[in-house]
């Protein structure tokens, strides 16, 4: 298989414009003859479904939540980047492009990232027109703040609830199309397989989560906007329902999986409080604008937040400011996380030992409590609610947690996977963030893909396709449907001795220990063996009660965990093969003398795309060389 990224030739700044002109168009009268399936209704899915409905296509949109508005994009806190340069501080499309390429540790495509930076400015205009209430200055114009990995203020925000407001904007556009009859919405419906006819994606199999009914839906193209797979780790900042089932089933039907081991560990999350922990809560990166990260210079096991105030300045180590004087507390996420881990490995962690302080005392002294409250009030309240500690009086305790997955289905410049007619948008694809995503860039990518990329690129595919619909009764659909049914019956018949969550937790621990913030060959090999064993045990000893024709949350989880087990193994394989450190992928064997990630550009300047070869078969690696014509690859430095 030859991977063709379809990046247009020509100067960087002209690629997208030129490409848009070269794409074939579907005439307005014909658009209504094409059906498009959109799975997932987060920022990417809702914006795509709405925009395609507006163009005249017939859209069917699916989400497993009870409302499209509850997709996990809703939880994004900090903001969205855009190269508006409203602050007159030297920002530009090129600078946003450059920061994103560098932030991703030179493992993303120049063409894609430049397009993302170009479209960023349109996103803000679009959201404002929809009535998204962004933060504003007293003069009535939009406010900005700075985020990790950048030295300009280009982040637009709506208090600590930017994702919510952007998603509600896209959701309102989606609702308008539902009302117009151009989008048919299927809430509480989960996609369980993709159906190929003559090698092209022509539909999906779904389960109605309330009645248990398994159904086939046919269309001319299928868009997967189903988010990331951070829940492989069990504990993550993702919502409990976030899962990899849609992309994994697509992978098993022929879509290559790009860079599965590239996961982002977010530095500022609330530490684990006990074995009962079901998820981890993020404290927005924006807190690092004013909060100072530190640990005691000498180990003080069990140090509590309320006692931190008694530690004199001279005995504190503000390790990010010390090691990275120019970026300080605003270094990118991977760097901040790794440093926090190193401090804790060094025995200088506070609280349970797996935590560092994020201290606002200086900011409160400088700006007053009122100003800090206006900026971060809701985050401080949330922290207090969860931990019982008051961050106005004592520092927060934070620790890194799994947050985002840069890997995902491999897509070309048109966002099409290696299966014709099957697209992946937003976090579900691998395309724009390389080995590390910068803060406030996920919202940007989700909306760019949905509002401004797919409406153009999908036309090019559909224009070459007959308008005839195909029946969802065909053999290919029936076969897929029966397979889904038999998997469900299998689960209900095992009647083992362990719950789905128990298996999931075990998988998560293995992934965290061996394929988390630091990885090495020995550990990864151990993880692989363990995941295999766990998977075998899962299929023999899991207990899923209830029946298939009702709301059955255990059954839903079991199917998702089965896919996480297989994906976990691929993540380990990918991490093992990439014998370098880059961004969030830190192989202990490859580091600079001062402990920074050591890339090996001569060997690994490529995107890894894995091809599924069947049950228990080793996946085949394909390489897409990354070509840098504009940016010089250097050791990423934030010092």
């Amino acid at each position: 298989m030859k991977l063709d990224s379809k990046i247009p030739d020509g100067p960087l700044a002209e690629k997208w414009t030129k490409h848009k002109f070269n794409l074939k168009l579907v005439n307005p009268a014909n658009k209504r003859k094409y059906d498009i399936i959109v799975v997932g209704t987060g920022l990417a899915g809702a914006s795509a479904a709405a925009s395609l409905g507006e163009l005249g296509y017939n859209v069917k949109a699916f989400c497993f939540q009870d409302s499209a508005r509850r997709a996990h994009s809703i939880a994004a806190q900090g903001g969205i980047n855009a190269a508006k340069n409203y602050q007159n501080d030297g920002d530009s499309v090129y600078r946003l492009f450059y920061d994103t390429i560098k932030g991703g540790d030179y493992r993303a495509r120049e063409g894609n990232v430049y397009r993302l930076a170009q479209e960023s400015v349109n996103i803000i205009d679009q959201c404002v027109a929809q009535g998204v209430p962004f933060a504003r200055e007293y003069g009535g114009l939009l406010a900005n703040r700075s985020f990790g990995g950048a030295q300009v203020s280009r982040t637009f925000y709506a208090r600590g609830q930017t994702g919510q407001q952007l998603l509600l904007g896209a959701y309102s556009a989606l609702n308008r199309q539902i009302s117009n009859g151009k989008v048919k919405m299927y809430p509480r419906t989960e996609m369980l397989d993709v159906v190929l006819v003559d090698g092209k994606a022509r539909g999906i199999i779904t389960r109605d989560l309330v009645t248990g009914k398994i159904e086939a839906h046919s269309a001319h193209a299928v868009l997967l906007c189903t988010g990331g797979y951070g829940n492989v780790f069990f504990l993550s900042t993702n919502a409990k329902g976030c899962n990899a089932t849609a992309i994994w089933r697509a992978h098993k039907k022929g879509a290559l999986f790009g860079n599965p081991c590239f996961t982002q560990i977010h530095p500022t999350c609330i530490p684990v409080s006990g074995d009962h922990q079901s998820k981890l809560t993020l404290m927005s990166e924006s807190l690092r604008n004013d909060g100072r990260v530190w640990v005691p210079k000498v180990a003080r096991p069990g140090l509590k937040a309320k006692d931190a105030v008694n530690i004199p300045e001279a005995e504190r180590d503000y390790f990010l400011e010390r090691r990275y004087p120019s970026f300080g507390n605003l270094v990118p996420r991977d760097v901040a996380s790794r440093n926090a881990k190193n401090m804790c490995d060094d025995g200088r962690g506070v609280g349970s030992g797996l935590a560092v302080f994020l201290d606002f005392a200086d900011a409160i002294k400088r700006d007053g409590k009122k100003v800090i409250e206006a900026k971060y009030g809701n985050l401080f309240d949330m922290y207090k609610q969860i931990t019982g500690d008051n961050p106005y009086e004592a520092p927060m305790m934070i620790y890194p947690a799994v947050h985002y997955t840069m890997g995902g289905l491999w897509v070309d410049y048109n966002l099409m996977t290696t299966v014709p007619g099957l697209y992946a948008l937003g976090e579900a694809n691998f395309s724009d963030h390389g080995a590390n995503r910068l803060g406030a860039s996920a919202l940007m990518q989700g909306l760019a893909d949905g509002y401004f990329v797919i409406p153009y690129t999908i036309g090019d595919y559909l224009a070459g396709m007959p308008t005839e619909k195909i029946s969802a009764d065909r053999g290919e659909f029936r076969e897929a449907l029966e397979k889904v049914n038999s998997t469900i019956l299998k689960f209900l018949s095992i009647k083992g001795k362990k719950t789905v969550d128990q298996f999931h937790r075990e998988l998560g621990l293995t992934m965290w220990d061996y394929c988390g913030m630091a990885r090495n060959a020995e550990g990864l090999k151990k993880a692989k063996t363990h995941i295999r064993q766990l998977r075998d045990e899962f299929w023999q000893n899991v207990n899923v009660l209830g029946s298939s024709n009702e709301l059955n949350q255990e059954l839903e989880k079991a199917m998702r965990v089965a896919d996480f087990m297989e994906l976990g193994e691929l993540m380990v394989d990918d991490a093992l093969h990439r014998e370098e450190s880059c961004g969030g992928h830190f192989r202990e064997e490859y580091q600079t003398p001062d402990g920074e990630a050591q890339r090996r550009d001569d060997l690994f300047t490529y995107a890894a795309a894995w091809e599924y070869k069947g049950e228990n078969q080793v996946e085949v690696l394909h390489k897409e060389e990354l070509i840098f014509e504009n940016v010089k690859l250097t050791q990423r430095s934030y010092k």
């Binding site: 809703i74 404002v128 308008r176 900042t237 993020l282």
Partner: protein, 255 residues
């Protein structure tokens, strides 16, 4: 901590439901309320009993999926979502009663899970600004006074959980509907359609079978996102002014 739970169990919408009692030992005060239910569910499954169905997703207080009527109050004793409620709020040995949202417009699906589709249909009736993707003015073209933007944000912070309906003795959805109406009526982008919007959304709200508002303010008192009662006043104002002056709405969509 040790606690006793009285939980509403109901097989499906048509079935007759009842309270069942469960004891949970070894409850940590640091657990969230939902984590306590996870622990109970694990115990139930290991005993071969069907776990309790309840809605939840983000578990950080923003998606609006979780519900639960706890000891007679939506989302329990604190003004927060159930997922942000922690067991340290309760006393050792306490008996806690858990019910689903109770409202005719929110039929029960199973146990503690209800169908909030009525909210969706209200939003679809007009909770949007009719702009297509592309071709919009620059974001800074229309300045919006900070105060107005902040007030619109306060209304837009609604998470659509339905606590307002559950709290209301009439099961009225006025707080939810008024939050969206207010957000868009306050902003210049929403003004061109403000009359049709409020008429359509209110008509849909009534069609869904929500009760009338009698201004008791229970909704505001229980709202986990502090959506203000003044939104209801604004919606009433918008509605009356629309009724007196708007064109008759005869078409659906494409307002």
């Amino acid at each position: 901590m040790k606690i006793t739970l009285k939980i509403w169990r109901q097989k499906n919408q048509g079935a007759k439901g009842s309270f069942k009692e469960y004891k949970v030992d070894h409850v940590s005060p640091d657990m969230s309320f939902l984590e306590m239910l996870d622990v109970l569910n694990t115990e139930l499954i290991l005993k071969g009993e069907e776990p309790i169905a309840f809605d939840h997703d983000c578990r950080e207080g923003i998606c609006g999926t979780c519900s639960l009527y706890i000891n007679g109050r939506p989302h329990g004793p604190l003004q927060t979502t159930t997922c942000q409620l922690h067991m340290r709020t309760f006393k050792d040995g306490e008996i806690i009663t858990i019910e689903p949202w109770r409202a005719k417009a929110f039929p029960i699906i199973k146990d503690l899970v209800v169908d909030r589709g009525a909210f969706e249909r209200i939003q679809q009736a007009g909770g949007y600004v009719s702009v297509n993707t592309g071709g919009v003015p620059d974001a800074n073209e229309i300045p919006i006074p900070k105060k107005v933007a902040d007030e619109a944000f306060d209304a837009a912070a609604c998470i659509g959980c339905g606590a307002c309906v559950a709290a209301c003795k009439n099961a009225s959805a006025m707080l939810f509907v008024s939050a969206k109406v207010s957000q868009l009526a306050l902003l210049p982008q929403g003004k061109p359609e403000k009359k049709e919007r409020v008429e359509r959304m209110v008509a849909q709200m009534d069609a869904e079978g929500f009760g009338a508002c009698t201004n008791t303010g229970a909704c505001e008192a229980e709202c986990p996102k502090s959506i203000s009662l003044s939104n209801i006043a604004r919606m009433n104002r918008e509605y009356f002014s629309a009724k007196f002056s708007s064109y008759e709405v005869t078409t659906k969509g494409e307002g």
